[in-house]
C-alpha cells in the first residue's frame, strides 16, 4: 500500500529455472524479433494457448489469455494465431513444448502460462515466452496478486512479451483519462472518466454537474489536472484519482485553462486569460510560486514539456494563425516549427521518448493528427478528415490516441506513429480529450 497507491500488491520473480538457461536466452535474442522500424512491416505470428489452471480458475486462465491476445493484436505488431489451429494442447508449462507442432502452424513465438491459487487465496500467474524456431525459452516470469487484479496481471505479461519481442517498452499496463460525453449536442453532459488503455474498468471521476475539459495525467503520481467550470471563472484543478480529493491550482485573476504537468510532476503549466489575451504561466505545486512564461497580446496555449523538462512546445497565433512554437522551459525566445502550406497547427504534445511532437493540423476544412520532429523536420499526417483532434502518446511513444467527431459525437481512436493500424477504442458513450497515463509498474 505504501509504495503503490492502488490496493495492489504484486511481486515478480524471474521464471528461468527448469527448462532454459540464461545463456540460451542470450543466444536466442537475435532469432525472433519484430522489426518495428521496417517500412514493409509484417506482424509476428504468435500462439497464445489458454493459461493452464485448475478447474475453479479455468475461466480466469481463459480471460487472462484473451486480454493478452487482444493487447498484442491491437498493437499491430503481432498476429495472434487462432486457437482452433493449435496442434499441441499445453497441459504443463514446465515441460518443453513440442516445437514442430507450433512450427507447422507458422507460429514464430509461443506464450504458455499457468494460474495457481495459493494457500493464502492469492493468485500465482506464470508465463513463458518461447522462440518456436530456435526451440528456446526467451523469458519467463511469475507474479503474485489477488484474483481481482487479473486484468493488471494480463497487461503486465503483455508488456513483458511486447518488450522482449520488439525491444521497446510496452504500454499495456496503463490507463486513459478522458471526457465522457452524454446527451444531445446542445446539452452535452461532460464527465471525467478513467479506464484501462483497452477500454476496460471504466470509472467516473466527476458527476457531470460542472463542465470539465482537457484532463492530463501527472507523470509520477495518481493525479490528474483539468479545467472545470463552476462558480466564478473557469479554473485549473488537481484531482487525486484514488482519494477523489480536489483542489484549485493557484489563485489567478482570470480564467486558467489548458493545464499540463511537468515531467517530474512538481509543476503545472497552463494558460491564463486576462483581458482577452492568453499567456503561459507555470506554478510550482509545493511552493505555489507562479512564473509568467509568455507576455503577448496573442493566444498562447496548449503547452507541453519535453521529457527532460528543458523545453516547452505550445501553440500561439502571435504570427497571425495558430502555429507550434518551441521555447526554453523558463521562457525566452520561441522558435516556430510548423510552416505547412496554409495550415494551422494546434494541441502540440511532446512524445515521452522525445523524438516527436504530435499535433492537430487544420487545412482546407479538415482536421488531421500528425507528428513532427522538435526541430520542425519530418512532418507526417497520420489521420485526416473532419474532425480529428487532441493527440496523446502511449507511455512508450509508439501509439497516439486522439478523438474524432464526424458530427454525431466524438469517439477515441489509436494509430501507430507510422500511420498504420488505426483502431477505435471502445467507450460506453461519446468520448473526447484522451490523456494517456505513464506505465503503472
Amino acid at each position: 500500500m505504501a509504495d503503490f497507491p492502488t490496493p495492489f500488491a504484486l511481486t515478480r520473480r524471474s521464471l528461468l529455472a527448469g527448462v532454459a538457461s540464461s545463456a540460451m536466452i542470450g543466444a536466442a535474442a537475435a532469432a525472433v524479433r519484430v522489426d518495428v522500424t521496417q517500412g514493409n512491416f509484417q506482424p509476428m505470428p504468435i500462439a497464445l494457448p489458454d493459461f493452464v489452471a485448475a478447474a475453479q480458475d479455468n475461466e480466469l486462465g481463459r480471460n487472462v489469455t484473451a486480454v493478452i491476445t487482444a493487447n498484442l493484436q491491437r498493437s499491430g505488431m503481432f498476429a495472434p494465431i487462432s486457437q482452433a489451429a493449435y496442434v499441441e494442447k499445453i497441459a504443463n508449462i514446465d515441460t518443453m513444448p513440442k516445437f514442430p507442432d507450433w512450427r507447422v502452424i507458422n507460429a514464430q513465438a509461443l506464450v504458455t502460462g499457468r494460474m495457481t491459487r495459493q494457500p493464502d487465496g492469492r493468485l500465482r500467474a506464470e508465463f513463458r515466452l518461447w522462440d518456436v524456431f530456435a526451440g528456446q525459452q526467451l523469458t519467463g516470469q511469475q507474479y503474485f496478486t489477488t484474483p481481482d487484479n487479473w486484468r493488471r496481471i494480463a497487461h503486465i505479461i503483455s508488456d513483458a512479451i511486447y518488450e522482449r519481442l520488439t525491444g521497446e517498452k510496452g504500454y499495456f499496463d496503463s490507463r486513459i483519462v478522458f471526457v465522457d460525453e452524454t446527451g444531445p449536442k446542445d446539452r452535452r453532459v461532460k464527465r471525467l472518466a478513467l479506464m484501462d488503455q483497452d477500454g476496460a474498468g471504466i470509472r467516473y471521476l466527476t458527476r457531470g454537474d460542472d463542465l470539465v475539459l482537457t484532463p492530463r495525467f501527472n507523470p509520477s503520481t495518481q493525479e490528474v489536472t483539468y479545467m472545470a467550470y463552476g462558480q466564478g471563472d473557469p479554473r485549473v484543478f488537481l484531482l487525486n484519482i484514488e482519494t477523489n480529493q480536489r483542489e484549485i491550482v493557484g489563485n489567478f485573476p482570470g480564467m486558467t485553462f489548458s493545464p499540463r504537468f511537468s515531467p517530474d510532476g512538481q509543476r503545472v503549466i497552463m494558460s491564463l486569460e486576462r483581458g482577452g489575451n492568453s499567456n503561459l504561466f507555470v506554478m510550482d505545486l509545493r511552493s505555489k510560486a507562479t512564473t509568467r512564461l509568455t507576455d503577448t497580446p496573442a493566444i498562447d496555449t496548449a503547452p507541453s514539456y519535453s521529457p527532460d523538462g528543458a523545453r516547452i512546445c505550445f501553440e500561439s497565433d502571435r504570427g497571425g494563425s495558430q502555429q507550434i512554437y518551441v521555447m526554453p522551459a523558463n521562457g525566452g525566445t520561441a522558435q516556430r516549427i510548423t510552416f505547412g502550406d496554409g495550415a494551422r497547427y494546434s494541441t502540440p504534445v511532446w512524445s515521452p521518448r522525445g523524438d516527436y511532437i504530435a499535433f492537430t493540423r487544420q487545412a482546407r476544412g479538415n482536421f488531421g493528427i500528425g507528428v513532427i520532429r522538435p526541430d520542425g523536420s519530418g512532418e507526417r499526417v497520420l489521420a485526416d478528415g473532419f474532425h480529428n483532434e487532441g493527440p496523446t502518446f502511449s507511455p512508450n511513444g509508439r501509439v497516439i490516441m486522439f478523438f474524432r467527431d464526424q458530427g454525431q459525437g466524438p469517439s477515441l481512436y489509436t494509430v501507430d506513429i507510422t500511420g498504420r493500424n488505426e483502431l477505435k477504442v471502445p467507450t460506453p458513450s461519446f468520448a473526447s480529450d484522451p490523456a494517456w497515463s505513464p506505465l503503472l509498474s
Binding site: 475539459l213 480564467m255 485553462f257 494541441t347 487544420q362
Partner: protein, 163 residues
C-alpha cells in the same frame, strides 16, 4: 362622455390583464407564444432585452472583430443597459466547432472581451460586466454546416436574473 371614459379605463385594465397573461404564458414557455412576446414584454424585463434589443452578436469565422450589425446591436444594448442600470450581466463568448478545444476557449474569451469593451466605450459601467468563455462547448445550433456554425460564433449578454 362618462360612459366613454369608463369604457376607456376598462379597456386599459383589460390590456393590462392581457399583458399579464401573456407574460405568464411566456414564462412557462408555451410554444407559439414567441410572436406575442415582442408586444407583451414588460419594458425593462429580461424578456424585453432578449426580444426587443437582442442579446447576442455574431462573428465571422475565427474573427473577433465586431461587424457593423454587431455594433448596432451592442449600441442598442448599451442604451437599454444604461436605462435599466439595475442589471449586472455576464458577457459569454462562444466559438463554432471548427477549431481545437483550447484555442476556442481563448477565442471565446477574446470575443466576450471585445463585446464588453465596446459596451464600456458606450458608457456601460464595467463593474456591471463579467466575462466568461465557453469555447465550442455550448453550441446553440447543432447541425454541421455554415448556417449552424455562424449562429454558434457569438457573444451573448446574459442578464443576471437576481439583479
Amino acid at each position: 362622455m362618462m360612459n366613454m371614459e369608463k369604457f376607456a379605463r376598462g379597456l386599459r385594465f383589460a390590456a393590462v390583464v392581457a399583458f399579464a397573461l401573456g407574460a405568464a404564458a411566456c414564462a412557462t414557455q408555451q410554444p407559439g407564444e414567441q410572436a406575442n412576446a415582442a408586444n407583451v414584454a414588460a419594458p425593462g424585463s429580461e424578456q424585453d432585452f432578449v426580444v426587443n434589443v437582442g442579446d447576442r452578436v455574431f462573428f465571422e469565422t475565427d474573427s473577433t472583430e465586431l461587424t457593423p450589425q454587431a455594433r448596432a446591436t451592442l449600441d442598442k444594448q448599451a442604451q437599454w443597459l444604461t436605462q435599466y442600470n439595475r442589471y449586472s450581466f455576464t458577457m459569454e463568448g462562444h466559438a463554432d466547432e471548427r477549431g481545437t478545444r483550447e484555442y476556442n476557449i481563448a477565442l471565446g474569451a477574446r470575443r466576450s472581451q471585445v463585446a464588453r469593451d465596446y459596451l464600456a466605450s458606450r458608457g456601460v459601467n464595467p463593474q456591471r460586466m463579467r466575462t466568461i468563455s465557453y469555447g465550442k462547448e455550448r453550441p446553440v445550433a447543432v447541425c454541421n454546416d455554415i448556417s449552424c456554425w455562424s449562429q454558434n460564433r457569438r457573444a451573448v449578454t446574459v442578464l443576471n436574473a437576481s439583479s
